[in-house]
């Protein structure tokens, strides 16, 4: 019986060899992945052991760690300066989770990233923990403050604003309202943190949602920038092509698509595209959507970044702005042309549209981290601006820029902004909920040779408009940018 016995012995040993290989695979090569798995709550409990590096905006410190020397690994406390103002950017570290840049740059902030280990090889040898690196954001503190206070003072419910550097895609301001103090959730005591989370989660509108990137709103007439882009790119239009601005009866229901931005008087006859745009004639753009067809608009919207999330930093991305891909009926297609009903967009998405137009058609990847510097001042990460598309030609972009200047000169925003060095497009979308309007202003400044692109959305009562509610905030942001 020894012959089969030997084979069974080999089989038995083989089982153990397989186990050894598997354990090597898990603990040898999968360990990092398991340690940072989002479901793994250990990493959050251990984070108080690390001297996390600060998060900066220019010279302003947004987040820093203080040594409190607590026991049981609670050596450091994380603090946030003006947590309510900067919550969309920094995010937080709590005993349960991490968000925002605290999450995206976690390894560099807490010193566990391999790039830091290289810089601290001697410390590692003597068992010292690597010191966290400093994350320098692209945020302009004054612009951020202007954006947040502007929205807070104006909106009756929620609001968001994003300002982007036209040439690089660097995010200069990213404000969200309502907000919350990140210090409240960064407490060591799990029970306390849990209570704060519970109370925040109960509030409506949700203060922890980032309205600048993670929520979408009906873009209203600001979507006409995309209609115009599709029209001009089709080759059948330029800014001076006469358009039909007479009353539009919707093809299915026969109802009228009202012109309602206050410039109804200008919306008749056949004004050139630029004038229809400046006066924001729904009749013109509803008709344009029907003429261009859904596929053309969908393609153009997708080129600008609709229908997929946009990644800002590792693991930090925007909500998906939507232009419908399912075939629309005639009424809905016409309404999609004026950014109503089926179309939704995040402020970040519309800011990217403005940035592309202002940058001669070149769409830049939005980003928040300018550079990451180790404690020994060596630069670990340096942001490199990256073009992620060219939805429209430089020529088309130039024409739309001119159309957006016309809005301020003699169009829907002229009453508020005339004479100021800014261009943009207003948008006012009825939500149908409690008479609330989504009030947009999307544009860039200065008018010539633009540097800052922006999108601001606030919510106002019936009768409010993008021009009255959001355009002044955009102007304040632009003035604040250094």
């Amino acid at each position: 019986m020894n012959k089969p016995l030997r084979k069974v012995a080999v089989a038995g040993m083989l089982l153990l060899v397989i186990l050894i290989i598997n354990v090597n695979y898990i603990q040898g090569s999968q360990a990092d992945k398991l340690q940072t798995d989002p479901l793994n709550s250990r990493q959050f409990a251990q984070q108080w052991e690390h001297n996390r590096g600060p998060i900066m905006a220019g010279k302003v410190t947004l987040a820093y760690s203080e040594k409190i020397g607590g026991k049981d690994g609670k050596e450091y406390q994380r603090h946030y300066n003006q947590g309510t103002l900067y919550s969309p950017i920094t995010g937080y570290v709590s005993v349960f989770s991490r968000t925002g840049l605290e999450s995206a740059e976690n390894g560099l902030l807490d010193g566990t990233d391999k790039r830091l280990a290289l810089h601290n090889w001697f410390d590692m040898l003597v068992g010292k923990k690597a010191a966290g690196a400093t994350v320098q954001t692209t945020i302009d503190p004054d612009a951020q403050q202007a954006a947040y206070s502007g929205i807070k003072n104006q909106t009756i419910r929620r609001g968001g604003a994003v300002a982007i550097d036209v040439k690089t895609g660097a995010i200069l301001a990213m404000a969200s309202f309502p907000s919350y103090d990140t210090n409240d959730v960064a407490v060591h005591d799990g029970e306390k943190a849990n209570k704060v989370f519970e109370s925040l989660n109960k509030q409506k509108p949700a203060p922890m949602l980032n309205y600048a990137t993670r929520e979408t709103f009906a873009p209203g007439s600001s979507f006409k920038i995309i209609d115009s882009a599709a029209a001009i790119e089709s080759g059948q239009y330029n800014k001076d092509t006469p358009t039909d601005a007479n009353r539009l009866l919707l093809p299915e229901s026969g109802q009228e698509l009202h012109n309602s931005d206050g410039d109804e008087a200008k919306c008749n006859g056949s004004p050139p595209l630029i004038d229809s745009f400046a006066a924001s004639c729904n009749s013109t753009f509803g008709r344009l959507a029907l003429t261009l067809k859904q596929q053309t608009l969908e393609n153009m919207a997708a080129k600008f970044g609709f229908n997929k999330p946009t990644e800002i930093e590792n693991g930090v991305s925007s909500a998906t702005s939507v232009y419908p891909t399912k075939p629309l009926g005639g009424d809905s297609l016409a309404r999609s042309g004026i950014g109503q009903e089926v179309v939704t967009a995040s402020p970040l998405q519309m800011a990217m549209v403005a940035q592309t137009v202002a940058n001669g058609g070149k769409m830049m990847k939005p980003y928040l981290v300018k550079r990451v510097v180790a404690q020994d001042q060596s630069e670990l990460v340096t942001a490199e601006p990256k073009q992620i598309g060219q939805p429209i030609s430089a020529d088309t972009a130039g024409q739309i820029q001119e159309m957006m200047r016309a809005v301020v000169d003699h169009g829907t925003a002229s009453a508020v902004l005339a004479g100021r060095d800014i261009a943009g497009k207003t948008g006012t979308a009825e939500t149908g909920i409690g008479g609330i309007n989504e009030d947009w202003f999307v544009g860039f400044a200065p008018r010539d040779n633009p540097k800052v692109a922006f999108a601001v959305v606030t919510e106002g009562p019936a009768g409010s408009s993008g021009a009255k509610f959001s355009a002044p905030i955009a102007w304040r942001i632009v003035q604040a940018v250094h």
Binding site: M1, P4, L15, L16, L19, L34, D37
Partner: protein
């Protein structure tokens, strides 16, 4: 190796290896006590008071076991006892480390509402069971001088084994049930897991039966395709027992043990008959059984969890075609209009534990293995993986491999067919058991509850495994004992080896 009749010669050292055994026992004890010391130093910065008590207790037990083996089984394999002591010792240190009564970090975690699993880890209990087990070990060595005695009572042993295996299935769940499986017999403060002992009993029965029938089993009865089946009257009893056993285990929801028994029958039939056909038939039956798994919810859950653990983390709830995780209760899932499927929290936490350990581990007493439910029993391997790292985990697996190898060596060395089959059977089953539980907690295969031999907290398993080691020591002692000297001394005789 050309003919089946000429068995290959096995090299046997026929002299006592007492000092080697002693040296290795001391080594195993040093590691154990160092383990206790490290737990204390890491946690409180001082040597734990428990170290002396547990060290002394274990030391006395080990001394007794050494004396017994040296006196009653002097020719036994010197490695088996130290390997068992090593595993038992570090297991005890880990349970001590996880015990709420002795672990400050576990107490703290509990105070913070973190739900550590040390609540049921009990080092005093485990030490008591170690004492009982080593007493049983000594008793077996002293009383059972010939393994063949078991062969004489094979039917009784088999019947008793089967009876106790089946008993929990017929007892009310309040006595036998825990975590979905009915495998316990609980009487007051004591609970026994009879399958641990039935495993040994059935190996003894099969070894006896197969030794008697191995010639008959080779006679071809019927031919079905390429398979030459033995006569029904030879195969029948085995099949009956086999079906009975697996039926009982299915009834008790104990699929880990079912796999074990299945492997046991197939491997022993193969060893006894020397016909590979049995492995092929075993493979076919296994394929058939796995085709049935979708109809057994308990098994299907385990497979779902294994394939996609993230979806089921802390409770997977199927709503429409989507599985939402972190739905912790069945009620919460129903409230969402879904069907509660399973929870992979334990498996994932075990993996996180291993990941935390990495290559070198956090150090004994410095990790957080108590985050994994049952970190001191079913998941004790991941607790070691966390605190001792890949390095420690490999040491444990290699020690298991050594036990299997020494058992197989005893099987090869012994001339008695019953002992050969018995030793081969238990050694293979030991390897299979380690594979099923360690493979389960490391997500190599679907997780089924089996004990981790010698390490996991639990009296039945410890007792059964110590008896197993005693039997292997007895078999290897018999095998290595020099043949009795001829009574008539014919003076100097030149020994000529013929082969």
């Amino acid at each position: 190796m050309t003919s089946a009749a000429a068995e290959p010669e096995v090299q046997i050292a026929t002299r006592p290896r007492r000092s080697a055994q002693l040296a290795m026992l001391i080594f195993a004890m040093v590691i154990t006590i160092a383990g206790f010391a490290q737990v204390g130093l890491a946690r409180d910065g001082s040597l734990p008071t428990g170290m002396y008590g547990y060290g002394a207790g274990l030391g006395v037990l080990v001394a007794i076991s050494y004396v017994v083996v040296a006196r009653f089984a002097p020719y036994a394999d010197p490695l088996l006892l130290p390997l068992a002591v090593f595993l038992n010792g570090i297991g005890l240190a880990m349970i001590y480390r996880l015990d709420l009564g002795t672990s400050r970090d576990v107490q703290l975690a509990r105070a913070q509402g973190k739900n550590p699993t040390g609540l049921w880890a009990s080092a005093p209990n485990q030490l008591m069971w170690t004492a009982l087990s080593i007493a049983a070990f000594a008793a077996v060595i002293v009383l059972l001088r010939e393994i063949k005695v078991l062969q004489r009572y094979m039917y009784t042993i088999g019947a008793v084994g089967l009876f106790f295996l089946a008993l929990p299935g017929f007892l009310p769940s309040s006595i036998s049930g825990s975590l979905g499986a009915k495998i316990w017999i609980r009487l007051g403060p004591f609970s026994i897991q009879p399958s641990e002992f039935s495993k040994l009993a059935l190996v003894a029965f099969f070894a006896g039966y197969l030794v008697n029938k191995r010639q008959a089993l080779s006679i071809v009865g019927k031919k079905i395709g390429p398979l030459n089946l033995p006569r029904a009257r030879d195969l029948g009893p085995i099949l009956v027992i086999w079906v009975l056993t697996l039926g009982v285990l299915a009834l008790e929801n104990d699929f880990g043990t079912a796999i074990l028994f299945f492997g046991l029958f197939v491997s022993m039939l193969y060893i006894a008959t020397e016909r590979f056909m049995w492995v092929a038939i075993g493979g076919l039956l296994l394929a058939f059984a796995s085709a049935l798994t979708p109809f057994i919810p308990h098994v299907q859950q385990r497979i779902n969890i294994w394939l996609d653990p993230k979806s089921y983390f802390d409770g997977g709830c199927q709503v429409g075609n989507k599985i939402i995780n972190q739905i912790q209760t069945v009620a919460a899932c129903h409230a969402k209009g879904g069907t509660y499927i399973a929870d992979s929290g334990q498996l994932m936490r075990g993996l996180f534990s291993l990941g935390q350990g990495g290559v070198l581990g956090t150090g004994l007493g410095q990790g957080e293995p108590w985050r994994t439910p049952y970190s001191f029993s079913d998941f004790i391997f991941t607790s070691f993986g966390e605190e001792l790292g890949l390095t420690g985990a490999m040491v444990i697996l290699i020690v298991y491999a050594l036990i299997v190898q020494r058992g197989m060596k005893a099987a090869l060395a012994t001339k008695d067919n019953f002992a050969k089959l018995f030793a081969g059977g238990v050694s293979f089953v030991f390897a299979l058991q380690v594979f099923v539980i360690v493979g389960g907690v490391t997500r190599l295969i679907p997780l089924t509850g089996l004990t981790t031999p010698f390490l996991a907290q639990g009296g039945s398993s410890l007792l059964a495994n110590w008896i197993l080691i005693a039997l292997l020591i007895r078999i290897s002692d018999t095998a290595r004992r020099p043949a009795p000297q001829p009574i008539q001394d014919e003076g100097m005789t030149q020994v000529v080896r013929t082969q």
